[in-house]
């Protein structure tokens, strides 16, 4: 039998939720551990096998100079690098600092600001190194994660659609909350993958999976504005966990300046 692929999980600025998704795949966890060599995964095990690794899963965004250097090292160690979650793919919620003065943030929280070493921005991994594949979401969908592992094992493409949340809403016959209730929903510009939980739970999609391909948030925001939604609400809606993703960023800036 071929050598088991070596898998490593790395953490940057994040909530740990995405790597937890692997442990949350209760039905598959032991099978995964049997099929791949989980060589480095601090959240789950003490054993740390040195690189190089066949696959590296990277959670979190780059917010310190030390981390900016560390991701370079990790890239060298990993043959196939996958970013998992909104932090790693778009900068995460902590990228909200990109619109503010970090020093102001620090002064408010810490008594000894001189000890806080942080960059002015929170940036996605792909701003620093080449990324081979992205799993979106805040948090990622554990089924997509398991499928990703399976696809790496079997040498196939992961099944990750790039279309809008709406596609699955309609497949599941969920009645559109935007059209039927006038709720400002990000579904039409957000990539599917979450299992359309929000509209199914009678609320707006708030964009966990980031912009879909060919996303057109300008048009959507324009329509919501025209139907009476306050500007601030729309700006905030785009400024969540994927605030720094290009399409959302540009639209939120445009709407803010209106």
């Amino acid at each position: 039998m071929a050598r088991k692929p070596k898998l490593a999980v790395f953490k940057f600025a994040s909530c740990d939720g995405c790597q937890l998704s692997l442990l949350d795949a209760e039905d598959e966890l032991l099978a995964v551990a049997g099929a791949v060599d989980i060589a480095y995964f601090l959240e789950a095990r003490t054993q740390q096998i040195e690189g190089p690794y066949d696959v590296g899963l990277v959670e979190g965004s780059v917010t310190t100079a030390h981390d900016a250097a560390r991701i370079q090292e990790i890239r060298k160690q990993c043959r196939f690098l996958v970013t998992i979650g909104a932090c790693a793919t778009a900068g995460g919620i902590q990228a909200l600092r990109n619109w503010a003065d970090v020093n102001d943030f620090i002064d408010r929280v810490y008594a000894h600001p001189e000890y806080i070493k942080t960059l002015a921005t929170s940036t996605p991994i792909a701003d620093h190194v080449t990324v081979d594949f992205e799993l979106r979401g805040c948090p990622i969908n554990k089924n997509q994660l398991v499928d990703l592992v399976a696809s790496l094992l079997h040498g196939r493409k992961p099944r990750v659609p790039s279309y809008a949340v709406c596609v699955e809403c309609k497949q599941r016959q969920v009645v559109c909350v935007a059209v039927a209730q006038g709720i400002a929903c990000l579904g039409p510009v957000t990539q599917a993958g979450c299992g359309i939980i929000c509209p199914a739970y009678n609320r707006d999609c708030y964009g966990c999976f980031g912009p879909k391909e060919n996303a057109n948030p300008n048009s959507l925001a324009g329509h919501y504005l025209a139907t009476g939604k306050p500007r601030g609400e729309l700006v905030r809606l785009m400024r969540n966990f994927n605030a720094n993703a290009k399409e959302f960023r540009l639209t939120s800036n445009t709407v803010e300046r209106l």
């Binding site: 659609p161 809008a164 709406c166 596609v167 935007a178 057109n216 048009s219 329509h223």
Partner: protein
Amino acid sequence: EELPIGYIDRQDGGLYRLEKSDGAGYFDYVVGPHSLKSFLFPPRETLLESIRQNGGWQMTAPPTEVTPLAIIGVRSCDLHALAVQDKVFLGGPYVDPGYKARREKLFVVAVNCRRASATCFCHSMKTGPAVQGNFDLALTELGEHFLVEVGSEKGGDVAGGLDWAAASAEQVAQGRGVSEMLEAELQSRETKPRSNEGGPRERFMDTTNIHDLLLGNLEHPRWAEVAERCLACANCTSVCPTCFCVSVEDVSDLSGDNVRRERAWDSCFTMEHSYTNTGVIRKTTAARYRQWLTHKLATWIDQYGTSGCVGCGRCITWCPVGIDITEEVAAIRATQTDGA
């Protein structure tokens, strides 16, 4: 699902509200978010199951057992849509077994509309408002009573088994009057001045020579213009009762030994739809919108001998930004670049 009895719907581009109305009867809401489509052509369906077995694959199609289904309150536009989907799934060289099985067990109770919403334009598509066949029973609401018309043997058997009074000629005429009045009202939309003080625009579509109009204007600037607004979100195609595009994908377990081949509703608005190994064919939203509109209203006629649009107006209502098929056609007609 519960019927919203006593409610009417208010529909416009990107807007749907059910509102209680005093005068409303049992069926005075018109077309809702769902059509017959999802019952006969479910959004997700398993086509094939494969299990790895001693070096080969055991491939089986899941049985298509179906429980008989009766659907009450189907409108004329949706009956025409049913006929269109019948052509797609049953009328070609290949027959879709799942659709066929479900179609055979379907019992349709149609309803003649008494009112139309602003988004309805069945009269333009010659698909309503009066039901014209393809049903088992058809109801017309007449104040306290329902007028029942039998449309098939199955319908006759059901009606025969019930203790219903025979309708008088007067009642039959009254029933016909309901549809005629509505039809006249719809027709009058075409001559009414366009802006009716603030209320939703009442739709109609000029279909004169529409096939050549659209295919003769494949490079019209309107495609790029609508793409500025269109989200490529696929809501329109999903709610459309005739759209039938699907993606077919394998779902397998971690070992890869148990595989289900599934089809799911897809749309010409997704990137995956026109993906090929050498590139995505319809990369831009403009190209996708053009594909949708030209297929729906023009090449559908080449393929199936009828328009793909039955004038139900769902794509207008359920488009999150209210893009309006009738308006897009009108815009192209008004500024055609080609002599078509």
